[in-house]
């Protein structure tokens, strides 16, 4: 089984080596050929001439968090379907009933989210 994943390993090794080469050549060539005249004005924030209004690291709105957590929950639900679908012919009606209960639990959650209006972006 592991031999089937060998091409993935080859891709991984190539990308690691390529990334190392690019960073190394960039760093070495940049140090050898480039001019370096550091200046405090060069690294100060520039915003079309006026002073910056606020820090770059502004707070995220909490609504993005809600979208992300709902995504994770339904993502996990889908993940449970994959082994279930593979062995459904062995499990029979019992497996179908087990998954029906599981899905019903999450459909309740889905309707709750829907009716609360959490899926809408205002």
């Amino acid at each position: 089984m592991l031999a089937e994943y060998f091409p993935v390993l080859v891709f991984l090794a190539i990308s690691v080596v390529l990334g190392a080469i690019l960073i190394a050549t960039g760093g070495i060539l940049g140090a050898l050929l480039g001019h370096s005249q550091p200046n405090s004005e060069k690294s100060s924030p520039y915003e079309c001439g006026f002073e910056a209004f606020e820090d770059t690291r502004s707070k995220f709105d909490v609504r993005y968090y809600l979208v992300a957590i709902l995504f994770i929950i339904f993502d996990l639900e889908i993940a449970f379907f994959i082994p279930w679908a593979l062995v459904l012919d062995k499990l029979g009606v019992f497996g179908l009933a087990a998954m029906t209960i599981f899905v019903l639990e999450l459909i309740i959650g889905f309707f709750f989210v829907w009716k609360k209006g959490a899926l809408e972006w205002e």
Partner: protein, 204 residues
């Protein structure tokens, strides 16, 4: 099979380096990215154990979704590092004491079970050719661990309700479309026809 050992040690090394990075890097966003690297290496090691399904789920759920959540939390909290460092020297003795106690407990436990001896962790026997980890997970999950599976569904439901209750705020003046209202709109709500007498043109 030397390539197996090489791959195992390479990914273990990367995983340990990533785990050290999580707790030593100063920028919390970089720490989250180090955690991604750790998860990814753990997934590769699970793949070496022929646990394909778990390895892919680790990537999809943890790297793809949970880490995004971590990054959101990091960005939402607006962490300022300087106040966190206040009192570092004052709490250092207590911290070292707790850490040493925990490390001692772990070491004693592992030593007493003989887990440091060579050969305590033999290589798992290779599975037969037609073995499918995903099928094995399915067979066990939906029979022996059915209760845990259904409880997981309930926990997910609780998580949905908690997330909505904690973060959902309808703000005043939000512009939200109501499609059914848009469809049911009458002409009178939008246009007002006014009867008026024709007026002669000025100056003629």
């Amino acid at each position: 099979m030397p390539i197996y050992e090489i791959v195992f040690y390479a990914f273990s090394l990367v995983m340990l380096a990533g785990a050290v990075g999580v707790i030593t890097v100063r920028n919390p966003v970089y720490a989250a990215l180090c955690l991604v690297l750790t998860f990814f290496s753990a997934s590769a090691i699970w793949m070496l154990l022929e646990a394909e399904f778990l390895a892919i789920i680790l990537i999809v759920v943890y790297v793809g979704a949970v880490m995004v959540l971590f990054l959101f939390v990091v960005m939402m909290l607006d962490i300022n590092v300087a106040p966190l460092k206040e009192g570092f020297i004052r709490y250092l003795p207590v911290g070292i004491l707790v850490a040493a106690l925990m490390a001692a407990e772990l070491l004693v436990l592992i030593w007493s079970k003989g887990r440091f001896e060579a050969g305590a962790y033999p290589l798992p026997a290779p599975n037969p050719e037609e073995y499918s980890n995903t099928k094995a997970v399915g067979e066990w999950l939906f029979t022996n661990y059915l209760l845990a599976f259904e409880v997981a569904g309930v926990i997910l439901l609780v998580a949905i309700i908690a997330a909505v209750a904690l973060t959902l705020r309808h703000r005043a003046g939000g512009h939200r479309q109501n499609p059914s209202h848009q469809v049911r709109v009458e002409r009178d709500e939008r246009v007002r026809l006014v009867k008026m007498k024709p007026e002669p043109r000025q100056g003629s």
